[in-house]
Each structure stands twice: as C-alpha cells, then as structure tokens.
Symmetry: C2
Subunit: 173 residues, 2 copies
C-alpha cells in the first residue's frame, strides 16, 4: 500500500482564511488574496510570528474545504501519514493533535508525525504547499496551491488547488 | 554520520522517580523498585493512565542522571534524533517539547520527532526501553534497562543501565 505524507497547514487547515480574519480583527483592514500572491506567509502577515506562539491559534483553524470527505476515502486506499513541521512551536503541538482528533477522527494517533525535518520520514508520495519540503523528497510530489507558492516558476511538482483535484488524481484515475 | 534515535520516557526522563513521588503524594505509601520488576508501567502504577492526560505531568519530569552531559557529547559525534511516541496523549506534546528546550537546549527542534509509530523513521541505531520499539527496528538496538523490562528473557538487544554505559559504548570504544 502506497504511503502518502499529508501536510497540515495550508493543506488540511485553511490557514489563509484564519490569517485574513485575525488581521482584520486586529487592524480593521481586510487584505485581498491578490496582494499576497507570491509572498511568503510571514511576509504577507508579519503578525504570524506572534500568532503561532499563541495557545489556541491552531486549535480552531478552519478545515480546508472537502478535505475531510476526500481524506477519509484516501485513508481506505492508501497508508496516510499526517505530518506537520511543528516542533519549532511547542504550544502548537497539543492544539494540532486535538484539532486532528476533532476534525479527522478516522486518522489514528499512530498516523501522525510532528517533527522539524520531513526528510526523516520515508514514503511514496508527499502532498505539501512548500517547496522546501517537496524539493527534498524522493518520491512523487503534489503541490497544494496556496497564495505563497503561486508565482513560483519552477513547478516540477504536480499541482492541485482543491481537495476534489486530489480526489480525481488519486482515486478516479 | 550514524543516525541514532533516542527515546524520551525512561531514557532521557527518569519516569520512575516521578511515578514513586506521585504515588506517595496521592496514597501516602511508598512502593519499592523490587516490587515493580517485570511489571508494565501501567500495571505498576494504574494511576499512570490519568497522569499522562494531566497538563504539566511531562513538563517537570526529572532528567535521567548524566543524560545531559553524555547526549551533548553524542550530539557531536552522531546525528541524534530524539523521538517520543506522544501523539496518543495530546496534552503531553507541548510539555515534552518545552521540557526538551529547557533541559537539552543543544537538541534543535529539527532533531525532534513526536509520532505514534517509530518504524516510520529510518536510522542506524535505536536507544529505547521498550521491546515493542526495539524488536521492530532494522538497525542496531540498545535497550535502556528500566524496571518494566528487567525480567524479560529474550534479551537479543545490547543493554545499558546508565548513561555512562552509553558513553563507554558509543564514545570510548
């Protein structure tokens, strides 16, 4: 059975929706998606470095549209490992596991990895929104499109913009 | 550089010292090490299933004697990955990373893995106190002796009882 590494932030969690909300709450201003294209998350929202250290920030993240339904199907056809580069932010760790338990109850704690270096885990496929993870991965790579990775020209990874794209690509091919 | 997986509980953390303290605090009785030999941790201390769910339980764990000094030396000679089966207990995750940051500041967050299945991580050597982890590992195995693993007869792993044993074995051979 093929092992697939599935990233959390920007793939299972709809981080930008939360970024927009928090930014508006703190400043009264609303950013547009267009002005963020090609900017790293921390360039688009410098507040992020404070937010990620705040208990609860990851606990209530919005779930990426259709990800629950499609990941449940993938979990029956593949060995799914949910993986997050989270050890840099200690307070995020408990919040992230509780969030997974709530929103993806079919993903056992045995299928979760929190680490600081994804290259430690061997697998057949990686679904991620960051080049730094995909570029160093040996197997098949699928980039989940998010504002920060939209303008990059070296797209040698397969790309998807929605979980329904993943459904077509990985289940209905 | 050889990669070594170093377990936390019962290897870096002196869990039994804490178990004895908490048990005495709650019951007024003091158990002896002798009466626990060969018993699983949860058989020796059924209270453990409640303790591991309590925020702060892992935050203030005693550090295993000499582990800080010896792991610092090992960290210069090997690629050290500290790994803990912690995703089963969400509240433990933040406490464990903060504890590592405090007590092993030379171990970067990039060298830490929290997971539910150690076989996901490939390495050359594993230092652990549990047969379930060592028996399924492909590389060299070193069992850290703790009361729960003392009576087992199928010791096909190298065994150590102290961090100074690891120092001799891995640095002064």
């Amino acid at each position: 059975m093929k092992r697939i590494l599935v990233d959390m932030d920007g793939v299972l969690t709809d981080v930008y929706t939360r970024f927009f909300e928090l930014y508006e709450k703190e400043t009264g201003l609303r950013k547009t998606m267009e002005e963020l294209i090609g900017l790293k998350e921390g360039e688009a929202f410098p507040e992020l470095f404070r937010w990620v250290e705040t208990p609860g920030f990851f606990r209530t993240m919005p779930v990426m549209s259709e990800s629950q339904r499609v990941l449940k199907l993938l979990n029956e056809a593949y060995e799914i490992i949910v993986i997050s580069m989270a050890t840099e932010f200690p307070v995020s760790l408990t919040d992230k596991q509780l969030w997974l338990n709530d929103n993806f109850p079919f993903i056992s704690w045995k299928q979760v990895v929190f680490c600081g270096d994804k290259s430690l885990i061997s697998a057949d496929m990686m679904i991620d929104d960051h080049f730094k993870n995909l570029d160093n991965f040996d197997g098949e790579t699928i980039m989940f499109i998010q504002p920060h990775n939209m303008n990059d020209t070296c797209h040698h990874h397969k790309t998807v913009t929605l979980w329904t794209d993943l459904e077509k690509l990985l289940l209905h091919h």
